[in-house]
Structures are given as C-alpha cells and as structure tokens.
C-alpha cells in the first residue's frame, strides 16, 4: 500500500527558454484496437472467473463443517469467497491490479497516452474527468435500478390485503431498494461532481492520487453488481440496516449485503481519502482557505466523514461475515455476543452517512445560489464552519437510533441533546441560503429551480428530524412510515434534487452539451410535485400507525397509500422526461453549449470546453473568491495566462496574492 502520489516527474528536457516539456509516454505507439486491451468486458470475465474460483474454494474449505449452510441451504463460506474473489477478478480484469503488482518489483507508473472516444469510459482511467463521468452514469444506473424496486414496493402497497408479492419477496425488495439507494447516495455527488469538478475549482491539473481515485470508482461499480446478487441468492429480510440477529439467521442474500457494503465502503474510503488530500495540497497558488469555493468545502467535510466513519462499517461487516462463515458470535447473544453491537457499529457509520449524503447537496445549492441571484454568497465563512460543524457533531449522535433498544435509558437525554445540537450548524447552512436569496433578483433557470426545491424539501425533512430527535416522539413513531417519510425528504428531497440541479448546471462544462431548458423545467415541476405527492402522505400514515417493512396495513389507510403510490408512479415517469432530455440533447440533436451559459465566476468555467487533459495550460494564480457578483467592476478571479512563473516573479511586489496556500 505504498502511498504513491502518481505525480509525473519532470523530464528535464529543456525546450526553448521557457521550461521543460513532458515528452510522450514511454509506451510504444500501437495500432492495437481499443477493445483488445483491458476494459469493462475483461472485468466482467474476471469477475465471473473469480466468483467460480472463490465458490469452488469455499466448498473445498467449508463443505464438511457442520452449520456452514445458512437458512437458505447455501454454503455461506462459498458465497462469500465467491463474491470476494469475484471482486478481485473484476479489479484484475479492468487493470486496477497491474500497477500494484508491478510495484512489487519497483516499477514506476506508466501513464498511458490520453485516450479519446467513448471507449475510454469503459477503461481504468486515471483522468479525473473520465472517472467523474463514469461515476455519473453508474450513479444514475444505481438510482434507476433502485427506483424500479421502489415502484414494486408502492405497487404492493396499493391495496391493504391483496398481494402482488409474498411477504418474503416484499421484504427482499424493500431491503434491496434501501441498500442500493444508500450505497448510491453515499457517492452520488462525491463520485461524479466531486471527482470531476474539485480539481477544476481549486486550479489543479489532477487529483493527488489518480490511481486511488480510479480504484474507488471500480470498487463502487463492483459494489453495484455484488448487491444485485442478493436477489437471486434469496434476498435479505433486514432492510438496509442489516440488524442482527436476523442478519445471522437469514439467507444467502445477506452475504451479498455484507460483502457489498464492504466493497462499496472501501470505494467510499478511497474516494474520500483522495479528495481530502487533493483539496489540502493541490490548491493553486492564491487559492487560500478563504477563497475555496463552498462546494469544495462541502466536499472536504464529506471526505472527512467518508474516511473516518466508513472504516467502522467495514469492520462491522467483517464481523458479520465471520459470524456467518467462521462461526464466531459477535452478534449472537447466547454465545457472548450482542445484536446491539451491530446496531452501535452500524450507526456509528450510519449517522455520519446521513451527512455524507446531505452535505454535498448543500454544497451544490450554495455554489449555485450566487450565480442565479447575482449576489455574493451570504455568510461564506458561516457556511464553511457549518459544514465542518455538522461533520464533527455527526460522530456524536448515533445512539439516537437506539432510543428504543440497547441503550441505558439514562443516556437518552445526552444523545437527544447532541442530536438537537446538530440542527444548529445545519441551520447555519440553511440561513446562508436564505440570506443569499433575500432581496435577490432570482433567475429561475432549471438549476435554480432544483436548488429552491431542495430548500423546500429539506426544510420539511429537517424539521421532522428535530421532532424525531426528541425521545417521546421518537419512541412513538419509531419504525413507522413517519421515519421513512422524514429521511426520504432529507435524502431524496435534499440530495437528489441538488444532484439533478448540479447535473443541469454543470452538464455544459462536463459534456459540452446543453440540456434542453424547457424540458428541464417540466422535469423539475413534475419531479417536485410528485415527490411531495408520494412522500407527504407517508407522514400521515406513519402517525396513524403504519409500520415500515410490512406488506399489509389497516384498510382505513388505503386512500393515503394509494395517493402515495400514484405519486410514486408519476415520480418515476418524471425521470423518463430527464432521460428523454439527455438522449435528445446529447445523442439525437446535440447542441454545443455556450462556454459559460450561467455567467458564473467559478474557476471551473474559465477552462476551455472540452476541458483539456491537464485542465490548465498554466497553473493558475487565484486572485479572488468566485462570489463577487453584483460588483460593478469585479476583480478577476484568477490569472490564467502568465501562470506561476510570472506570479513568483511578482510575488514580492504584491504579497496579497498569497502564493503559498499552505
């Protein structure tokens, strides 16, 4: 695990009197077709072969042991080893292991020639922009797959007692939906927008650890495939929280859940690790902490949570795997373990996870608000402090998930207090948005609509969250649809609305194409109305006593459930508008986007489109923060022309440039 920055050393070959030229790659030019190398196809072959080898090995190791077959009759050791070897085969097939193995004999990294064309998106690429696009497509595939499962849930709940599924299939669908959505949401912004935009926003030519970044994506994609295997293996009856003792007792799909979360968790750790280091060390000269875009602040806070909270989940998952394979008893009370141990470890990750999902959404909308209000961001420092405050406090609230179980009742007030405390920095971030909107002449473009929709939805999700932090309310509505509605308002109403706003906002930069604005507005209004139609009734049925994860309910709740289900189907249809918009404007009738369609001051918009491989021809010198909207004569945000050499020469004359951000 050598920490290799992936830096390309200077060649020392002088060219003219300017500097050094990076010569071409040492790899010989080849006319070999792109499809003959390592790509998604070889990754799939590697995964299948790996699964077969692992499964065979598991049967060799454990078939003779008693109690190796779980509730499904499957040999859990074989399933787990199959999935683990499958992931290794996947990584080997895509080429992620080439360099780690070459390092064993001391080889230096060989960077392939920058590739053009669509095949590069199916390969192991260390270009942060390619990785960002890979993430974006995979996140949408994740989202739409889990969304189809949501449709299945709402179909079942159309009637109180007539069934489309049996209870076992229903709970498997619920668990698969929740787990996939959580996995997707944890990387929904960090993956696509964080990887693509952060280097551009901080004036860097690359990320700190490009191979780590690429590996994070291929772990993420592998996690999608692993969790999909849960359904053919019988699903898991625990929902996305995976509570013991059901975890220990359930069918082979639980192995997919544990391995899948572990694989996704490793991807999350790698992504956060790379982003945090990049933001700390690869800011351009002059990009002081006071000038860092607020979206980058949100990425830094999220990266801190990803790197420090997720390892606990991976450890907890390992213990679960050991319980199911090596017959340990971490979560088996009658053998000295405790099912509450899982709850503690899971929620120590799980509650920061909530903010891993929320903070990037806030970062996106805070970045967009000044652009569409033509006002400076209100309370920039408060926003940054609020994000860091939320990140810090999120480590001290996990026990509120155990108010009903596994906690000394005397401890409840403490965790009620810490949970309520976290609403303060969250409120800071919210107020920053409202302050920016105050007396603004708002441009109601599509990204701005999504930003406003996010604020509306998150307000409902946040206020109900404050209710839920109070022990009496929590005890009353625990395990009901009220809780379910609350977190859908925060995650889907918050993060997903912000994500779609971000997609509409940054697509012109990322693809050079402009999504159609008229269809974008139709998408927003249908998504906004039907989202609320789907989830607001669930607060009501929750208060009336309908429990989560149960496929039958009282007959008097049918009207509200039918309203919700109808809303869900129409909400699903609203995404077809988005897909149609993408296909039309990207494939059928592509239109070149203006260079800076929103007239943003952001550094990412100062680069050419498509963004060159190294982003900036010269490393820029940042002169100002990007929020000076409304100034009659705004100072330039960055010097992109003369670059670092000129700035170094002039640094003594103008110390305000703050050349060393460290």
């Amino acid at each position: 695990m050598t920490i290799d920055s992936g830096r390309r050393p200077a060649a020392g070959e002088p060219v003219g009197d300017v500097g050094v030229t990076r010569p071409g790659p040492t790899r010989r030019p080849t006319s070999r077709p792109a499809w003959l190398g390592q790509h998604l196809g070889t990754a799939v072959v590697g995964a299948v072969a790996g699964y077969a080898v692992g499964h065979w090995l598991g049967n060799q190791i454990a078939s003779a042991y008693p109690n190796t077959a779980g509730a499904s009759g499957l040999n859990d050791t074989a399933v787990v080893l199959g999935l683990a070897f499958g992931v290794v085969g996947w990584l080997a097939g895509i080429g992620a292991l080439n360099y780690p193995l070459a390092k064993l004999v001391g080889r230096e990294p060989v960077t392939p020639e920058p590739q053009q064309g669509w095949m590069r998106y199916f390969k192991y690429s260390t270009d942060h922009k390619v990785v960002g696009m890979q993430y974006l497509v995979t996140v949408l595939v994740f989202f739409f797959t889990a969304g189809l499962l949501a449709m299945a849930i709402r179909t079942e709940l159309l009637t109180p007692a007539n069934h489309f599924f049996g209870p076992d299939i229903y709970i498997a669908v619920v668990g698969e939906h929740g787990t996939m959505m959580m996995m997707m949401a944890s990387s929904a912004v960090v993956g696509p927008l964080g990887n693509y935009l952060v280097p551009l926003m901080i004036g860097s030519r690359r990320t700190a650890f490009p191979r780590v970044e690429a590996a994070s994506y291929w772990f993420f994609a592998a996690g999608y495939l692993v969790i999909l295997t849960a359904l053919p293996l019988g699903g898991f009856p625990t929902g996305w929280t995976g509570y013991a003792p059901l975890q220990t007792q359930s069918a082979g799909g639980m192995d997919s859940y544990l391995v899948g979360f572990g694989v996704i968790g490793i991807g999350m750790i790698l992504a956060g690790f790379n982003l945090a280091v990049t933001i700390i060390h690869f800011r351009a000269p002059g990009m002081t902490w006071n000038r860092v875009p607020v979206f980058v602040w949100s990425m830094l806070a999220t990266a801190a949570l990803l790197t420090l909270a997720t390892p606990t989940l991976v450890a907890a998952g390992l213990f679960g795997v050991l319980d199911r394979t090596a017959q340990t008893a971490f979560y088996v009370t009658e053998h000295g373990g405790s099912q509450f141990l899982w709850q503690n470890l899971f929620w120590f990750f799980g509650h920061p996870e909530v903010y891993i999902m929320a903070l990037p959404g806030f970062g996106i909308v805070a970045e967009m608000l000044p652009v569409f209000t033509r006002k400076p961001l209100f309370g920039y420092r408060v926003a940054a402090a609020g994000m860091l405050g939320v990140a810090l406090l999120s480590f001290f609230v996990w026990q509120h998930h155990l108010f009903q179980s596994g906690i000394n009742p005397d401890m409840r007030p403490l965790f009620m207090l810490t949970t309520e405390l976290i609403s303060i920095p969250t409120g800071f971030i919210f107020l920053v948005g409202l302050g920016t909107l105050y007396k603004a002449r708002i441009r109601m473009e599509v990204p701005m609509l999504f930003a406003l929709g996010m604020y509306f939805n998150f307000l409902i999700g946040g206020v109900t969250g404050v209710f839920l932090s109070d022990v009496p309310v929590n005890v009353t509505v625990h395990g009901s649809f009220f809780v379910m509605a609350h977190f859908h308002y925060t995650i889907m109403g918050g993060l997903i609305f912000a994500l779609f706003g971000g997609i509409y906002y940054w697509t012109p930069k990322m693809t050079g194409r402009m999504l159609d604005q008229k269809w974008g507005k139709i998408h927003f209004w249908t998504m906004f109305v039907f989202f609320n139609l789907t989830f607001f009734p669930l607060f009501i049925v929750g208060l009336l006593g309908q429990p989560r994860r149960v496929f039958e309910y009282a007959a008097n709740l049918q009207v509200w459930n039918d309203i919700s289900s109808t809303g869900a189907f129409l909400l699903g249809a609203s995404f077809l508008i988005f897909v149609g918009n993408v296909v039309w404007t990207m494939v059928i009738n592509p239109r070149t986007a203006p260079a800076n369609p929103w007239a943003s001051n952001g550094l990412e918009w100062q680069t050419p489109t498509p963004v060159p491989y190294f982003n900036f021809e010269r490393i820029p010198v940042v002169l100002n923060d990007p929020y000076h909207y409304g100034d009659p004569e705004p100072a330039p945000v960055a010097d992109l022309g003369a670059g670092l050499a000129m700035a170094v020469a002039g640094a003594t004359a103008d110390p305000s440039t703050g050349l060393d951000p460290r």
């Binding site: 920055s5 500097g19 008893a329 000295g336």
Partner: protein, 220 residues
C-alpha cells in the same frame, strides 16, 4: 530501459520549472497527509474492534464473555507482538540511517522488516490453528478471531508498502548511477524519501496497534 519513467504525460505540455517544483511539493505534501489519513482510517477500523471488545466484555451476555478464563496461546501471541514491535523499531532505525545517507543500512533493515512481517503473518495464521476454543464459544473468542483477521490484513499491507519501497529504491539507485542526477531522478528521489518517512510512521502505528491488542487479549 530506464528504471525511472521519464515523465509520461501529455506530449507538448510545457511545464515551467516553477510549476514542476510546485507540483512536486504538492505531491510530497500529499504523501505526508495521506499517511496520516491512512493511519486514521485504520485506527477507526481497529477502534470498531476495540469497541466490540469492551462492549461484549462489559455486557458479558449469558456469562459468555470469557468462560473459564481461556486465552489464545500466549507464547505465540507474545512472539507476534514482539516481532511486530521489533519490525517497527527496525523500520524507524533504518529510516534514521537513510536520512544520514546510509542507504545500504536502510535496505538491510527494510528487507529484515519484510521478512519479519511475513513471519508475523505466518505466526498469526498458525496461532489460529492452535486455539483452545471454538470461534463462537464466547465473546472473547469472537473478538480474537476478528483481531487475527484484521491484524493479518494490517501487517500484510505494511509489509507490501515497505517491500515496494525497497524495490523502487533499488531501481532508483541503479538509475542514478547509470543516468546521473537528472531532474526526473531527483524528483523521484524526493518522493521516495517522503514515502519512506510515511512508511516508517505506518510501521510504528502497526506496532502500537499490536501492543495495544496484546494487552487486551493476553494480559487483561
């Protein structure tokens, strides 16, 4: 073929010396911060194990935390922790010698650390075959199995890091002799030194983890 990759990148990108130096400093800083962050990541994973240990010990469900006071084989466990601490100390000593320019000393110390790391992994696996309890017989037994699995991964990772550094160091040295002190070689050398510092710190952390859990599993 040269041992040092002479700057793969974009043909035609002209990089000023200031830019090259700026990126090199950023890369060195990234190794510094990355090492600390990697230690944080591993620390939180092991904190999960420590939490499990104390949680199950204090709960003592069904009086099954540690029936009959069984422990894992103390002689093997003590050998493991002693070897891990020795490897950490040797990595530190080697790095001190490297700072003084005594590269051969660092190589000797480093390869010894690699051998010790592999021995630790072998001993940890062997210990698993010598347990006097079933993995699911108690909370203690479960935590011990979890510890063994995580420790194997940790020591293997640390060993991989120093082995790759040693291999790179050999190639780098050969390149410096054959090609002289080119800018590429000097840049690679600086990054190599930063990595060596980070690797030493990581081995020190590995030794501290081993000592902490040795106290938990064999003493208290």
């Amino acid at each position: 073929m040269s041992a040092i990759n002479p700057a793969p990148g974009i043909p035609g990108l002209i990089e000023s010396p200031e830019e090259a130096e700026y990126e090199l400093r950023a890369a060195e800083g990234s190794v510094w911060t990355g090492t600390r962050l990697a230690i944080g990541i591993v620390a939180f994973a092991f904190a999960g194990l420590a939490f499990a240990y104390f949680y199950l010990r204090s709960a003592n469900n069904d009086q099954s935390w540690r029936p009959h006071g069984v422990t894992a084989p103390t002689d093997i466990g003590t050998s493991i922790v002693a070897l891990t601490i020795a490897a950490g100390a040797l990595a530190l000593l080697g790095n001190v010698r490297l700072r003084r320019g005594l590269r051969a000393d660092w190589q000797v110390a480093g390869w010894t650390v690699v051998a010790t790391g592999l021995l630790v992994v072998a001993l940890q696996i062997w210990e698993l075959t010598r347990l006097r309890f079933f993995p699911g017989s108690s909370g203690y037994a479960s935590c011990f199995i979890g510890w063994a699995a995580m420790n194997i991964a940790l020591v293997l990772g640390a060993t991989y890091w120093i082995e790759t550094l040693l291999a790179r160091g050999l190639r780098l040295r050969r390149a410096l002799v054959e090609e002289g002190a080119t800018p590429a070689a000097l840049s690679a050398e600086r990054l190599f030194r930063a990595n060596a510092e980070g690797c030493t710190l990581f081995w020190g952390f590995t030794a501290a983890v081993a000592a902490f859990f040795w106290l938990l599993f064999y003493i208290f």
